[in-house]
Symmetry: C2
Subunit: 245 residues, 2 copies
């Protein structure tokens, strides 16, 4: 059995649920984790509400190898992610001396007000996720990785944390363009999926450049040979199709 590493993602923020801000992090993190060999199994989006954050965090952190969070680590009253995570883990939270020291280099005494100092609040025992270009750090506590909501900062944090993550046997993926309508291949495709149980076969309709209905078929597996066998069966099925579009 190969070691499978899983993840949940928790997106925190009223602005996503109201539609004011369109999330750009889910797609990025999904693709990033897939490339690392980590299976993203579930995403949840919750509001800036302590009870909602803790409930979702607890559901995810006990179920998956890692939980990634985005959002809610800024300087304002609606940024409650760090405190919620400390509460979920039952640990204290205080201004982290190393972060405060960096803030003192960056800001004058007048500027380093209570709001900015909030960004130095880190749960006890957490490991900082920081670099010279990241102002307010993220952190890793247990299996939970807490990141910024601003995409560019979140992406910088992912690059820092990625090398430290346990990664699994990577999911391999191959795509073929069917040049057929999804409805014409659904039957034989089901048989192929049944005959190749260690693969995952996905079917994604799209409109091609000739404005015709077309389909991408994606075969995924952690085993290269099994993937190749299923893909061969898919291609054989497509070659034998006798349909018009």
């Amino acid at each position: 059995m190969s070691d499978i590493v899983t993840a949940g993602l928790l997106v925190i923020g009223d602005e996503i649920l109201s539609g004011r801000t369109k999330d750009k992090n889910i797609g990025f993190i999904a693709e990033y984790l897939t490339n690392l060999g980590i299976d993203l199994k579930e995403v949840r989006v919750v509001s800036d509400d302590e009870g909602d954050i803790i409930a979702a965090l607890d559901a995810l952190r006990h179920r998956y190898t890692y939980v990634f969070t985005t959002g809610g680590i800024g300087p304002t009253h609606d940024d409650i992610t760090a405190d919620s995570i400390a509460k979920a883990f039952g640990v204290g939270i205080d201004h982290h001396p190393e972060v405060v020291a960096r803030f003192r280099e960056r800001w004058s005494e007048q500027e380093l007000n209570e709001a900015r100092l909030r960004m130095a609040r880190i749960p006890d025992g957490a490991e900082l996720i920081q670099s010279a270009t990241i102002l307010a750090p993220g952190f890793k506590l247990g299996n939970v990785i807490v990141m910024a909501g601003v995409p560019s900062i979140m992406q910088a944090m992912m690059d820092i944390v990625a090398p430290k993550l346990k990664s699994g046997v990577r999911m391999l993926s191959e795509t073929v363009r069917a040049n057929a309508r999804e409805g014409d291949i659904g039957g034989p495709l089901r048989e192929i999926a049944k005959a190749h149980p260690d693969t995952i076969i996905g079917s994604y309709p799209f409109t091609d450049e000739d404005q015709k209905p077309n389909t991408h078929l994606v075969v995924r597996s952690r085993d290269a040979d099994k993937l190749a066998a299923a893909m061969a069966a898919v291609k054989e099925m497509l070659a034998g199709l006798n349909v018009t579009r």
Copy 2:
């Protein structure tokens, strides 16, 4: 007390979790529901797995006024949304005669294979969401609204179902550009938020056209007077700021 109508959103599909497809539905539905006066409280993204779909659906449908789902209603073996929903509700599922009749008008006997007929599988007691331009219908069963994953079709389905939804007192929203860094206003903003409990005040940093750090402040409330009072306090605070950027 005003009647508050809530919603959960369940996005179904391996392709979103693998990063292959970037979701465009969450942001659209969030904004659409906000405009209807329905509060989107939570979003979950799960894979094409019956157990995962049912667990998420049950968590959401008992908690919120409505649950919207996207994805998994096509003709292939990985399209298992309708069957999962029938199972969650404990009702039967079969080919819906009205849908089959429409399919017969559209497709020849050879084309109307088992795969395409799958798209006519509708749980018992569900109400169809369909129009002349929608091929495979969505449906509404209890408080669950099942829609396509393809954004253009999902959007057409939302337009059909929206007039039938109970809508709440609409959340009003006003935005002001702070011309200040988030860290400089976090303290006074917290006091304003505390003093105006029936409003929700959000703070969203951005880089403005002069490449300076700037902040949008959003005040939301269902009560126009309370919103106006909180926004007045925010603007007074901003006018009294003595900070440089």
